[in-house]
C-alpha cells in the first residue's frame, strides 16, 4: 500500500513538475537539456513562492493535492 506524504512539495497542489509544463515555463530547457533528464529528479515549480524546488521540500503553505496520491518522498 502506498504511503501518502502529507507535507512535502511533491504532494502539494501548488507544485508543478509535469515535464512538458516545466519545459514551457523554462524556455531554453529543452534546447540543451530536458525536463525528462535524470538530473532533474522530480523538481518542480512552487506557485506560491515562485521557486524551483525539490519535490521533497516542505513549507507551511502546503495544500494537499488529491491527484498526487501515492507520491513518496
Amino acid at each position: 500500500m502506498r504511503r501518502r506524504e502529507s507535507a512535502c512539495c511533491g504532494g502539494c497542489t501548488h507544485f508543478q513538475n509535469g515535464a512538458l509544463q516545466l519545459e514551457a515555463a523554462l524556455p531554453g530547457l529543452s534546447a540543451l537539456s530536458s525536463a525528462y533528464a535524470a538530473v532533474r529528479l522530480d523538481d518542480g515549480i512552487c506557485a506560491v513562492h515562485e521557486r524551483y524546488v525539490a519535490a521533497a521540500s516542505v513549507c507551511p503553505a502546503f495544500a494537499d493535492n488529491v491527484a498526487a496520491f501515492g507520491y513518496e518522498a
Binding site: G10, L26, A31, L32, S33, A38, V39, A47, R51
Partner: protein
Amino acid sequence: MAHIAHTAGSQALARRSPWGGLFRKEDWWAIWIGLALVAVAVALFAGGSSLKWIAVAPQKWTHLSDLGQQLKVHGLQYAALFVLWSVAFGIGAAALGIKISRFLPAFVLVYVAAGALYFLGQWDQAAHYNLEPPLVALGIGLLVSNTFGVPRWLDPGLRVEFYIKTGIVLLGAGLPLTLIGWAGPVAIVQAAIVSLATFGVIYFAAVSLGLDRRLAATLGTGGAVCGVSGAIAVGGAVGARKEEVSVAISLVVVWAIVMIFVLPLLSRSLGLSTGVAGAWIGTSEFADAAGLAAAQTYGGYAGNVPGIAGTPDAAVSAFTLMKVIGRDVWIGVWAFVLSLIATTRWERTGVQSKSSAAEIWNRFPKFVLGFLIASAVLTLVTRGFDYAAYKKEVVPALVAPLQALRTWAFTFAFLSIGLTTRLREFASIGARPFYAFTIGVVVNVIVGFVLSTQVFAGFWNRLGQ
C-alpha cells in the same frame, strides 16, 4: 504562474518507486535503446552477420546523379532505418508521456532533414565550403526557429537530449574500456581544475555584483559542470527562484551556441590536433549536445583541412572523456554539497529543502552507465582479435554500423538544437548575471586552453594517433 497552480491538480505528479525511474527518465531509455542496438549488433556479428544493412549511411558523392543513385540503390534500407528509429524513439517517447501520434509526424521531418544533412556532409566539396553537418544543422535550425518560426506540432520530435544521450551510449561501443581507464583519470583531473576555477569565478563575481547566492550557485554550476542540466539540478537542489533558473538557462544556451562556432574556429586557426581540440571543447563547452556538435565539426577537418593532425574520431572521443567522464558525472556531488550549504548557511526562503547524500546517485546522469556498459561489451567481444583482424573484420561488421547509428542520433540532436532555440522566448537576462557568467566563460576558455594545449597536450595528442 496562476495557470500552473490550476493545472497541477489535473495531471499526475511524479511518483517515486524503486523501478519507476527506469521507465520515466530519458537517460534510462537512451540506455535501453543504445544497449539494445549494441546487443543486436554483437549477436549478428557472433553469428557471422552484421547490422550494417539497416545501419545505412550516405557515402561520398560528387555529382547529384551519384546522390540519386545512392538513394535508388539503398532506398529500402533508409526506409527500414526510419522504421527502426521510429519504433525505438517512439516507444521511449510514449513511455515518457509524449503521445506517439504526436511524436511520429514530427520525427518524419526530423529524419528526412537529418538525412539531407548527412548526405550534404558526404559531398566531396562540403569541407571546401565549410558545410560541416553539425554547423549547417544548427545554423538552419536557428534561422528557421528565429525567423519563420517552428510549428508547435514539431516540438514532440525535437528531443535534443534523448537523441544525444542515445548517441553517447552508442559512442561507448567505439571507445575501448582500456582507453577510458587510461584517459579517464587525466580527464577528471583537468575537468576538476577547470570546474572549480570556473565555478569559483562565476559564484564570487555574482555575489560581488549583489546577486542572490542561489542564483550565483545556479549560474556557477551551469558554467562549470554540465550546462543547462547542471543549472536545473542545482537550481532545484538549492531552491532557486524560477526566474533565476530561467536566467541561468538562457545564459548557458546563448554561450553554448556561440562556443559551437567559436571553439572549432579558434582550434582550426591555431592548427590544433583533433585530440587536443576535442579536449579543449570538452573542457570549455557547456552542454553535451553543443560540445558534440563542435567536436564532430572539428573531427570533420581531419584529412580535409591541411595542418589538422589526428583522426576524425579523436575529437569526439577526447570531448566525451573530458565532458562526460570528467565533468557530467559529478553533478550529483555538486548538487548535494550546494544543497547542504544552502540549507545550513544561506538565508531561508520560505521553502525548506532537504539535503541528502542520496542526491549524489539520484541526480547522477544515468546514461553514462550505458556508455560504460557499451564500451565494456565491445571490449570483451573484440579482445581475441589482433589489430589487423580488428580492422579487417570487426570494424566493418560491428563497429562501423554502430558508428553510423551514432551519427544519425547525433544529427537528429544537432538539428533539434537550432529548432528548439527560440531566442525571443528566453528570459530577460539582466546585466549583472551576464557579466558574472561571461567572466566565468572567459576564465573557462583560457584555463581549458592552457590545460589542453600545454599541460596535458602530449596526452591528448596521443589519443588522436
